[in-house]
Each structure stands twice: as structure tokens, then as C-alpha cells.
Subunit: 327 residues, 2 copies
């Protein structure tokens, strides 16, 4: 089977599942909740859930439900993060709070958060209490860790003493945790052994770290239209990305001055100068580190004996997309 077709079938089912849960009589609230989900997105996390389940020969309908739950959860975090970060565009359209106001955006996020748990609960219907516990424990723990990661990310904006290891811990929580949980959930629902689901967890985590490093790179190097959100917003918000940390480490005193003036600035020429300087000083290093995590992810994946060759090819391909994507 052709991988594109394999992925498309899964994405169509995940989309239909999400849609089936996102209707209710409080119409504006549901409209605001569906809006960002309908605007697209790569659906990488649900693909990781379903392919990890396929890898171990799991029941497809459970993995689709868990995949939908993870994607709904991810979209909740995006809606709330955009309020906190005051971002006005995502996926090429105005953010939810810009379109409906902050109160409705907060509530739409809360609704998606709860819906994610409702959809996940459907995935464990009829399974043992032990599997139910593992699934719910991993999922709730992930939201907690993601919230902690967002808190670190916001706190780092105000600090200059952030090191590479702090950054890696922050993105492990903010981004990699949900990838790790996605792979783990697919494995647990499929009845995988402890060793198998732990390797899937590690696979997801390493891939998630690579994903975020690349995300930070694209935030200053991508084509703005293709990216769907404003370039340089990380610099404007003084985010301490790997690129910034490495650049400050490698910069001479003149360069450091330019970078520190650009971070947190609203002046487009300063933002551009900083972006260009940062790219020159750290792009190679950042890509190298992303590739290292990509390789570690694949090493963990190779430790799981696949029941399905397409699934292992698919998971490898997702790991490649994470590294090679342009948006």
C-alpha cells in the first residue's frame, strides 16, 4: 500500500471522528471550537497514535478515537497558547481570540480539553481497568506536563540565563510529551508489552524534540505564507529558542548587542537583523541536534518488532517529515 493513501485514510477517519464530537446547541461555542481544527494542520500526532497501534496489530477504531483525542487536545493548547502569547494568526487565519474575543476563546479551549478526555474515554470502552488506567494516566499527565512546559516557555521570555539543557527540558514538556504519549497510547491500546510501549514512548519523545527544534528554525527561516503564522514572532516575544541560546553563546560582543536588542523588539528591521544574525550563527548546530534526536527516535522504533510493515515505514516517514518539513 502506498503511504500517502495509508495516511489519508487515517486522517479522514480522525477528522470525521473529531467532527462527530464537536456539535452542540451552544452554537457559537462549538463553532469557535471547530474553527482551528477545520483550518487544517498536519495531523502528525493522530498519525503517530494510529500507526503505533497498527505496528502492534491493535484495533483500528480504538486508535482512531485516541488519535482524535490527541489532536483535539493539541488544538485546545494552541487556542490557549495564542491568547497567552498574543498571537494573531495561525494556519493562515486569525486566531480564535481575535475572531471571537478572549472569553469565548478560553471557553472553546476548555471545551476541547474536556472533549479530548471524552473521546479518549470512548477508546477504552470494553477494555480492562488496567488499560483504562494506563491510557487516562498518560493522557492527563501529558496535559499537566505540557502546561508546565508552557509556563517555562513564558518564564524564559523574561530571562537571559537559559541554557541548552533548560531549553531541551522545556520543549520536552511543551511539545515532546504529547508525541511521546501519542505513540505510547497507540501501543497500550494495542496491548503492547511494557518494553514495546516504553520504546514507542521514547520514539515519540525524541521525535517531538526534533519537531520543536525544527519548528523554532522555521519560525525565522520559513516562507511566511506557507508557514501560516507571522515570521519572527518568537524573536518579538523574546523566546529563548535553541537558535537564540546558541547564537548568544557564539556571538562576539557586537553581535550579542544586536541580538539582545532585537529580542522583544517590535521594530521589523531589528527583528530581521536579529533573525539573519541568528540564522548565520546557529542554524547548522540546530539542524544537527534535530538530526541527532531524529536518529535516536528511529533507534527506539527499531527495537519494536513490527506486526505490520506499512506501519513501521509510515512511522519512519513521519519522523522524516518532522525533520524535512518547510511549514
Amino acid at each position: 500500500m502506498d503511504l500517502d493513501q495509508y495516511f489519508e485514510e487515517i486522517v479522514a477517519k480522525v477528522n470525521a471522528t473529531m467532527d462527530s464530537f464537536l456539535h452542540g446547541d451552544t452554537r457559537e461555542l462549538y463553532e469557535a471550537s471547530r474553527y482551528l481544527i477545520s483550518a487544517g494542520g498536519k495531523r502528525l500526532r493522530p498519525l503517530v497514535v494510529v500507526l503505533s497501534s497498527d505496528l502492534l496489530g491493535g484495533e483500528r477504531h480504538r486508535a482512531i478515537l485516541a488519535g482524535a483525542a490527541v489532536e483535539v487536545l493539541h488544538n485546545f493548547t494552541l487556542i490557549h497558547d495564542d491568547i497567552m502569547d498574543q498571537d494573531t494568526t495561525r494556519r493562515g487565519i486569525p486566531t480564535v481570540h481575535v475572531k471571537w474575543g478572549i472569553p469565548t476563546a478560553i471557553l472553546a479551549g476548555d471545551l476541547l480539553h474536556a472533549k479530548a478526555f471524552q473521546i479518549l474515554t470512548e477508546s477504552i470502552k470494553g477494555l480492562s481497568g488496567d488499560v483504562a488506567y494506563k491510557v487516562l494516566d498518560c493522557f492527563s499527565r501529558s496535559v499537566i506536563v505540557v502546561s508546565e512546559g508552557q509556563a517555562m516557555d513564558m518564564e524564559f521570555e523574561k530571562r537571559w540565563d537559559i541554557r541548552e539543557k533548560d531549553y531541551l527540558e522545556m520543549i520536552r514538556r511543551k511539545t515532546a510529551q504529547l508525541f511521546a504519549c501519542s505513540a505510547y497510547l497507540g501501543g497500550v491500546l494495542a496491548g503492547g508489552s511494557e518494553e514495546e510501549v516504553n520504546n514507542l514512548y521514547e520514539f515519540g519523545e525524541k521525535m517531538g524534540i526534533a519537531f520543536q527544534i525544527v519548528d523554532d528554525i522555521l519560525g525565522i527561516t520559513a516562507d511566511e505564507k506557507e508557514l501560516g503564522k507571522p515570521l519572527y514572532s518568537d524573536i518579538r516575544e523574546a523566546k529563548k529558542t535553541l537558535l537564540v541560546i546558541k547564537s548568544l553563546e557564539r556571538a562576539n560582543s557586537e553581535e550579542r548587542k544586536i541580538i539582545m536588542e532585537g529580542l522583544g523588539s517590535n521594530d521589523m528591521s531589528k527583528l530581521k537583523a536579529t533573525a539573519s544574525l541568528i540564522t548565520g550563527l546557529s542554524l547548522d548546530y540546530a539542524y544537527e541536534l534535530a538530526r541527532k534526536y531524529h536518529e535516536e527516535a528511529l533507534a527506539h522504533l527499531s527495537r519494536v518488532t513490527p506486526r505490520n510493515e506499512n506501519a513501521v515505514k509510515g512511522l519512519r516517514s513521519i519522523a522524516d517529515i518532522v525533520i524535512k518539513r518547510r511549514k
Copy 2:
């Protein structure tokens, strides 16, 4: 056993359980998350969970966990509601977003929301998949219904055509659902029959409706210091409480003009005039309706055969507190 001592023991255990889950290395976030919980509150919902479990002879440690989950969830909704409603005081102290800013308040609410699911998941550890499903399904569904209720409440602020049945449906979602779920959870965790847990659900729901009617009454008649939040904020926000709906129905044209001018106003003399008018026109009716729901709640409770006499006395006493409280 003396009821006060019975309640105090439960509340102490619920408080200790909540506290044990609310610590982490992102210190400001956890501090903001604990702040409102530490400021007090009546803990009525966890008492309903634990007493409903006691009523059917359930395992105490599971009920304490589920009670803590419900209280944590309730506090998450308060933090986010206060941002949406722009309320600045609760439990006699500044609201979370006033103290830490909107981004941290959003995130603290999100963290509590996820923590509630984590704590609830601990309550089902070792139980069957069937019970796990019922517990998680009721809880996630409740957050969804509560969010819908909050959306209705906000939408009603802009409308003048709200009838009593719309108001009752709104408070059934916004407030009564979580009381219903609390009683149901206690019953399900204790292994109650379908009839028993359904009667507990109805008991909680009717009590929750009575609770909110009384809450709306206290919002304009209570002692402000005792209440811990500003009087008349419902009138300032043009909330369509039962009192407002009934008053508009009973008012003559002159009175209606005063009420409609007061709703949404920031002028304290107008707010006071409206409050006094509303009280005169509808207080008797609102208390009568609250008492009707209180009686219905007790009727459902009486259909459950108690395994524990203290628990049934305690639940009746909570229903009485709901009606008779002054804050």
C-alpha cells in the same frame, strides 16, 4: 457520630489529597493553581461525593480521590469564569488573573483541569474497565456541559428574551451538572446499582439547581464581607437570573424601566435601586422554587436504601445547607 466531625474529617482528607497533587517545579504556576483552593470554599461537592459513596458502603480512599478531583475541577472553572466575567474578588481575595495576570490564570486553570482528571484516574485504579468508563464518561461529559452552561450564561447577558425555563436549563448545565456528577461518582465507585446511581444523580441535580437559585439570591441580598465577592456583580454584568426574569414579568412599566437601566450599569445607585426592586418583586418566588427543588432532591435520596445512617443524615444536611446558607 456528630455530623460536624464527620464532615470535618472528610474535608481534611480531601484538602490533603488536593494539596499532595498540586506541587511541581514550575513554582509560580503551581502557586497560582493552589491559591483559590487554599482560600477556602465550602467543599460541598467533595462532601456529596464521599457521602454518596459512604451511603452505599464504598471504599473511602476512592471517594476521597474522586471528591478531590471534583473540587479541583470546580476551582478550575472558577478561575476561568472570573477571567471571562472580569470579576476581581472571590472568597474575599483578589481573583487569580488580578494577582498573576491573564496568561498565568488561564494556564493555572488548564493545569487544574488536567489535574482533576489525573486525580480521578487514581480513584479507579484497580477497578473494572466498566466502572472506569462510567466514571470518566460522567466526569468529562460534566465539564462539557458546564462549559455549555457558561456559554449560555454569557450569551444571556446580551439578551432580554430569556424565560424561566431557559434560565433553569442554563443553571442545570453550569452548576447542577457537577453536583449530579458528584453524587453519581460516589455511587458508581461504591458499586451502586443503576437505579441507585440514577437516584443519586437526580438528587445531586435538583440540589444543584436549588444551590444556584440561592446563589443568585445571595448575589444581591447577602452581606458583602461574608459573601467574599462584590454584591450586585450579576446586575452589573446583566446576568439573567431567576430574580431578574421574574421581576421583569411582575414589574409595572415604570419598574421595568428602572430594572432595565440598572442591568449592565456601572452606577452604584442604579445597581442598588435595581437590587432593591428585584428583591421586592421576586425574592419570595425564587426561594419557593429553590425549596421545591430541595424537596425533589430529598425525594430522590429517599429512594436509595442507605447502608450507613450517618451518610443519609449528612446528605440531607448538605441539602439543607444549600437552601439556608448566608454565603
